[in-house]
Symmetry: C2
Subunit: 235 residues, 2 copies
């Protein structure tokens, strides 16, 4: 059970190969034979290390959560918590935009052959673990929300509940956008995501003007971070 950090860690390399092939070639590339060939082993490695493809895909999904956590953790905290929330939203969306296949697996939308259960599969241990790591990715949103409440930008409220609302709105936008419902990237951000963020901020207690200001501040910070003007391109 103790995963030894060997130089030739086949287990980790299988997951890495899965994520890479997933982004390169789509979900149909998530095959035991392909992954084994990629790593240079036989398909048996999949079964000694994971017990089957399902568990390997679960591991990929978990890796997606971890990666999302890392993205969000990179968003620093400024003295404007509402702007930080906008930055987290942009980052959340950007992560999904850069690795749509990975997060499709993570969010359970798509699976190779459509064979794995996605919704209402909470009775499995893997599902619960994934949910737990979802909470970890969720933490930065909770902290920013708490700071917004403390700063008087949001009305006094349970920070988890308020953050869950923000997370729902953000996740919904990202999911629908990834499904192609909101058109080109820049359009979806400007027409839906930013107004949605302002709506949420105002609804949670902020003023329209201050919310707009924070949205602008986050946009400027984003431009500075990404380095280009338009930041519309996904890659």
């Amino acid at each position: 059970m103790s995963p030894k950090p060997r130089a030739t860690d086949v287990k980790a390399r299988l997951v890495e190969a899965a994520i890479r092939l997933l982004d390169e070639s789509g979900p149909e590339a998530l095959q035991a034979r392909k992954l084994a060939a990629e790593v240079g082993v036989s398909t048996m490695a999949v079964y000694t290390h994971f017990g089957g493809m399902a568990a390997l895909v679960d591991e990929v999904a978990r890796a997606g959560f971890v990666r999302l956590s890392e993205w969000l953790a990179q968003v620093g905290e400024t003295d404007d918590p509402v702007a930080d929330i906008f930055s987290l939203a942009r980052t959340y969306r950007q992560a999904v935009a850069e690795q749509p296949q990975l997060f499709a697996v993570t969010f359970g939308q798509s699976a190779p052959g459509g064979k794995r259960a996605t919704l209402s599969d909470l009775t499995t241990e893997e599902g619960r673990e994934a949910a737990q790591e979802g909470l970890e990715a969720f933490a930065p949103i909770v902290r920013a929300t708490e700071r917004a409440i403390r700063a008087g930008r949001f009305r006094p409220a349970d920070e988890y509940q308020a953050a869950a609302q923000l997370w729902s709105a953000l996740h919904g936008f990202v999911t629908l956008e990834a499904s192609g419902h909101f058109g080109p990237a820049e359009q979806g951000i400007d027409h839906i995501l930013l107004p949605l963020g302002i709506t949420m901020a105002v609804g949670l207690g902020d003023t329209v003007d201050r919310a707009r200001g924070s949205a602008e501040a986050a946009k400027a910070a984003w431009r500075a971070r990404t380095g280009n003007a338009g930041q519309g391109g996904n890659d």
Copy 2:
């Protein structure tokens, strides 16, 4: 092209069997041999009528969308458009809760590849006309939003954009709840969905008190419709 309403309409019966088996036994029941056996034909019927399992699954996904439209269309319009939005939200959630497997397929299959018209065109003037047909499920939300704007409950705004925000928030909540992130049904509704609705309404221009009142009105109407007190049970 003309689908004859034959007594032995194998095509329709295959889709029906797929939806039924999907809800009963999960996604793994979506197999050509199982469906054929269920209907009492050979697997060839799948290929003469659909061309393959993928197209049949597409048909199932489309059926889910239609079913969602029917659910939402059943929500009547009252003189309180914001309460109607709350009712639509409860209904949307209820539909997914009752057939999670079906909607997992529906939401997973709405691919950008399919040129089915979606929200993408709604934020541009020219695309709206053409997109109207493909958005039947979304239409009631847009109409309620428009009425809320007209009634002065929401600030003047593009009703499609505002509705897209509401849809994002709602869809995000439903998706995350179905993934098990929000605990038991009643808890998720009271702790997240209702506050989220109030947040959105207030953010779009409503007052806190009136939004709360509309939420209560929708809750009362829901109790009356479903007939039981708690309405927490999913079935």
